[in-house]
Symmetry: D3
Subunit: 328 residues, 6 copies
């Protein structure tokens, strides 16, 4: 859409392009002159922007979550880049695709989707296969499933994030089926694929990622059980007891009531799904926290509220040296 991404900006360059208005404030200098303080976003990052002239006239022509076209210059201010904006106007609907302003999974969405489809094809239990087919032959669902984020923040927060997390969890479960005896692999892999489907209705990308009303009032666990129920209602031969297993695995996949599951996992596949899901989430949270770290001088990240700890930026240099060299 734009020639240059925010992550590529350098001091002194002129920028002309469309950006999402992440936030907007009308402030006043002490001399009484109003100015606009904006935060602009594209899919690669965010930058602060100032409009010093005509702020009072402009500031009601657009609002947060709108896209605007700007003409400005990148300047260095107190060690950070910012944009001094000379001109701006709201973008026209046909000029921008709001989803272009949101981060996308670093993995190719279509490839990930094909990988999920391969896993679906590997299921031998006819009922579970039929259930998966009911979802994956439903284009409304697959379209939403491919683009949804896995969370509002915290983990896998991007277009394709749900797909990325689902694929990783399902593959981990596929391995576990070989690692542990006695696991019903078809049930485990099927539910790894379906455990978070309620998120396609729990979250919306507008382009900010947010909870929907139904998402906030019911949560993706209940929504997921409803979605599965609707599909199974159209599969008359689906065994009722298997349906209950399927519903229980969605219900219990957060592990305990404190974390949103009113029932703990009550059989082995449910427990394994919970733990595979949780490991995948925690690994992503930690990687994200390290990637977003901005202070190269400290070996520690800032305190992470969800993890309830600081993380150590483990050095790697010392561990790949042979004893001889380090002794030398």
């Amino acid at each position: 859409m734009n020639e240059r991404n925010i992550s590529d900006f350098s001091e002194g360059e002129r920028v002309v392009g469309h950006f999402l208005v992440q936030s907007k404030q009308l402030l006043t200098t002490r001399a009484g002159k109003p100015y606009l303080n904006l935060t602009l976003q594209d899919k690669t990052g965010r930058i602060s922007g100032k409009v010093w002239d005509g702020a009072a006239e402009i500031h009601d022509t657009f609002k947060g979550n709108d896209a605007i076209k700007i003409d400005g210059t990148v300047e260095l201010y107190n060690r950070e880049l910012q944009l001094t904006i000379r001109r701006l106007r709201p973008s026209e609907p046909d000029e921008v695709d709001l989803s272009d302003f949101v981060a996308r999974s670093s993995h190719d969405i279509d490839e990930m989707f094909l990988d999920i489809r391969s896993l679906v094809e590997s299921i031998e239990n006819p009922h579970l296969k039929a259930l998966l087919d009911a979802f994956f032959e439903d284009e409304d669902f697959t379209e939403a499933f491919k683009t949804s984020s896995a969370a509002r923040n915290i983990h896998h927060v991007c277009i394709g994030g749900l797909l990325e997390h689902t694929l990783s969890t399902a593959r981990l479960c596929e391995y576990l089926t070989t690692h542990y005896e006695d696991l019903d692999g078809d049930l485990l892999i099927t539910m790894a694929i379906l455990h978070d489907i309620g998120k396609v209705k729990e979250l919306e990308i507008t382009p900010a990622i947010n909870y929907t009303e139904v998402g906030n009032l019911l949560g993706h666990i209940v929504i997921g059980i409803q979605m599965v129920g609707e599909k199974i209602n159209r599969l008359p031969d689906f065994p009722p007891q298997l349906r209950t297993l399927v519903e229980h695995m969605i219900l219990s996949h957060h592990g305990q009531s404190d974390w949103g599951s009113p029932r703990p996992p009550m059989f082995l596949e449910a427990e394994v799904l919970h733990r595979a899901d949780d490991m995948d989430v925690k690994v992503d949270i930690i990687k994200r926290a390290l990637a977003e770290d901005r202070d190269p001088d400290s070996p520690w990240t800032t305190y992470h509220r969800a993890l309830e700890r600081v993380l150590y930026k483990k050095p790697t240099y010392e561990t790949d040296v042979s004893p001889e060299e380090s002794a030398g």
Copy 2:
């Protein structure tokens, strides 16, 4: 069914009748002679029974949860009554109705049901009225709803217990609609009636009251949401947003995640329903604990695990005496 209830037995009387076998053990005297130690139950209580002769031959002719016909004598042993059983045989199916061995609500079930129906008739919101009608015109549902217990133990544990608790909660909500401004009375009363309907599938009376498999794996909250969803699916005009309110009120009626609700009540009617339900449950637990107390010498009940406290058997005599009398 029997001429005499267990609660009416007195020392020395001969008893002939059918009783439910609550538990059964084959024991042996030191002299090597086997005897049977039974606990028998009718809807008024339980009594211990011993079979001293022919125990080895008899003990495989029936099992726990069966009904048996006995002929025996009530004896006093160490301050408690017990039955010395001379003869017994399994009851024939046409001799007994297993539900006769279970406690029933002390209130008339049909009258309570009529009272609920009157509350249903008072609902003016056409969608909520239609939803209630969908349930109350469904005979399978009303049959189950009228007989179900409200819990396996703890509170309203009897045939008709669910009905009794539902009616009490709904009436309390009806009052609260007048007590507090700004409450949507139709929504509150409707959901007071429907909040626990999942219990008709969560529990079964066989005649012991127990969780069903689906009850244990999903719980009455999720089952209730599914039941409501099935009815609303057949009401094409039901507003989607109202549906979400209805589902949320079932989901949140336990108040917090620790108590089984993954979402807290997020609007006023949901909060009020939760508190009305909880008050009704706690009042019944306390009354039950006092009624089941067996030690008249102590002003305290035994420790109640669910309440996490002992209860005080508050005296009443002193408070209805006039100052003159007590001074006299």
Copy 3:
């Protein structure tokens, strides 16, 4: 006191009147010129005010919690109203009544008090009646009781708030006496009236509502028990056991140790009082949170720390439409 309330201000109007100084800061423009940033309050709300001229001279002539008389103009600044103040001086003691700057219950205090007196008259137990009379014939007490707030913030925060909460709780208990059998109505209603009396000494209105020293060090529960004890000491016929019940109901009315009651409610009336009190508090908190919401564009309030949740601004429009209309 003033001709216009803060809640009625509109852009451009001139304001002359007395206001409470809620907070005061001396700041400086970049050009080195000092200015005053005030928050002013009357009983209907708050507004920001700026003094651009003579700030250095004025700012030590009054302090927070003082009243000042101002002459200024209402201006619109960044979507919010603020006062540009040309002149101000401290109010004279005889010009203002500090309590006029504090919110008052929306219900008439004298009417509420009469309603409480009626409830007192309905008590038949002579000891409890004597105890209530001892309080309600004590003018120091009734004066304080009629004006006290029920809390520093959170719920029923206003002059008359304690009275409003007490009346609502007592009436709810009056209803519950008819709803549940076996309740000692005299004891329950008496204690509903007395449960929070310690708040008349726990809180003070100066005119900010704050904890007193004794309030913070002992809390209204212990203070309430002391106040009841002093009255009972002058009622020689008061049965000691009834006194203990009375004291226990105050002690346990917060329900559990985490919430400030070292003893849980140990008999039915104590439990019911706790729950009636708690329901009344929670209903008021939710109504307040909805009333104070300032963002009409979102269906959600901001996160409420005491409730530990966001609240949903439930729409009402859809639920009062008949099926025919919505289908049309």
Copy 4:
């Protein structure tokens, strides 16, 4: 009272004496013959006793908590001593003093009381001294204070236990006044003496140690505040603020709401009192657990519910050996 204490019994000896009936059960041999199974207690311990003859006739002539006079023989049965009782009758009131059946503090009660009195004499603050005098010149109080137990079980469970714990806590506080600067020693020592006085009404020795009704409904913290309040009411010059400090120190001495104090200690003396009290309690609990241990073969005690751990029976032999010896 008796010639021999239970702790001195040896196999084969004949015992004639009075004992407290701690528990009593009427059982039957398989041959149908009833016998009595008793647990008898004196202040040194407990022993099991059997009555094989005439049990049915005897067993209603006395009950638990009564004293009986017995004539029997000590026998060894499965590694434990027990009494075979040939004859028994209820003790006459003038034959026994029930308090003789309860453990007494191993320290001399009168000496401990004198030590407390010395501490009282050391207080220089006239108000606090007057408050202490009000208690220690009240014979009803001193009589109860000298004999009361400090708890029903767990710690300092004996006649004189409250005195022992109070003296130890007060002396520890006396030391801390020298250890830390800035402590108001008069206030700290006074409150160390008074912090648990509510226990004289919370517990009763009948001769089993149990909670009184008022003890269970209010607890010793509230009772203590009431007792202090009654004394201060008769000291017209007592400064109100000092009274609040005194009451707060009783209120907060359990440290946090979970442990029964609705207020945490809010100034230094209150915190120090809480910690001195808690240390004294925990030291006694641990000593008691070690003293009551009955399994010399294990280095571990059984799990202690109040401490939530097992204790290690630390060996001492190895630590008093010099390096030379252990090396030898």
Copy 5:
């Protein structure tokens, strides 16, 4: 050792062999005759045994945890098998190997050990390889490591249990190294092998599995850190920072302070190790709970205290039926 294992006993057969005395009680018949009630154990299970004759003489000739040789008959009593023992004597030390009375891993210990050695060989980091070699070239360690149980009860409770759990965890970590980018596979796999080594000193098999004194006082986490420290002290080139990573991964592998780790995992490999370890433990607990279930009539296991839930014995029959068949 014996011809027949306890798990193979059938009614009526004569048994001559050595068994471990799990518990022993001297009881008396009502006729006053003493008898012995034993629980005997071999590595396949437990059985109750009675000695009716000569019990008083025999019962001091052996104690719990001893082995005895018995001659007896298997009888059916109240639906369970038990041994009536005619003769018994303590086993001679050369007749039995106490470890034969304890369960062994169902996997071959030498094969598992070879698998661990292969993993060790795959480590390329020379420091970590040197650390592992220091352990695996230490025969005292390898001997203990091969036979140790992984816990006293709960999970992997058998000879070889530690090896089995270690191998499973290490292989899971090996997979995760391929599943997630950015993991230091050498560090992760090394620590998967070493994370629980402290258990070789924390537990002892005597042959009952129990905590050692040092195990109870310090725990396997601290012991493991000490063991690793001793080895590293002899590797002069070992990088100090890598040593800290190694120690931290042992310290944090229980995940949080409540579960025994004073530090949470602070880098990615530590988090992944914690979760791999925890998954392996939980899978074994669930499998064990299902395997030990004794009630085929219920779809539920009994309540599992460590898991804090009941488990569902998930049926499998219905899920392997094709839609056509189930429809037919």
Copy 6:
């Protein structure tokens, strides 16, 4: 180092001296002119400083934690003092000693150290004495031990803080050895001296007090156990069981797992050490909170996060008045 300490500054005085840069921000006036906003620190406190001229040129010549030499004037701004800095340059290494910018214990470090040495000399157990000697004859250790802080913030935060806390705890334990019978005084006092030694490696003063990497990853408890282990390894006669007691007392001195001790204190000396340590910490926290209080108008401090409460600034005047005077 400087002529005047920050705590002595008064309005209008000129200041020339070296200060530590606690924080530094480059800001811009509305007119576009950059200025520096600094926080400067010496061992007596902190002050804000502004550089209005040449900020852009200067601001990269030094960074946080550097010392600078400044020339400026103290001004009063909005009731607080601040420095207007005319000139500044980085301090030369030989001009300043960074430790001079950090607070020091108010007690003499050498005297405290001598007091600790006296306690060491009083130990009679030869093994414990040898262990203490191993530390106190190790100059690297004693140097670090004398200067270390006891914490990063919260308590005893200063050079010599560890020594001060250790001495106070050890003396309290010395007293407790006389107060309670049955305590092994040598073990208790030895471990009071050694319980926190891990802090010499957990914290560093640079001159800000911060966790080291190993401190954050392992914590002072594990480090302390390692340090003790290294010394004991060189004492071949040290009894292994005594070593375990020593290690356990370090491990358990935080009392419970939530507070960082994976094992609770399992014998009396360990429990007493935990409580003596905790009392000393809490007394210091409370004194610090009162000393740092800045609002003389309120009887309450601000909320203290670690204590989870506000503190009452207890008045003393009223309590030292005799009854006669106060009555007068």
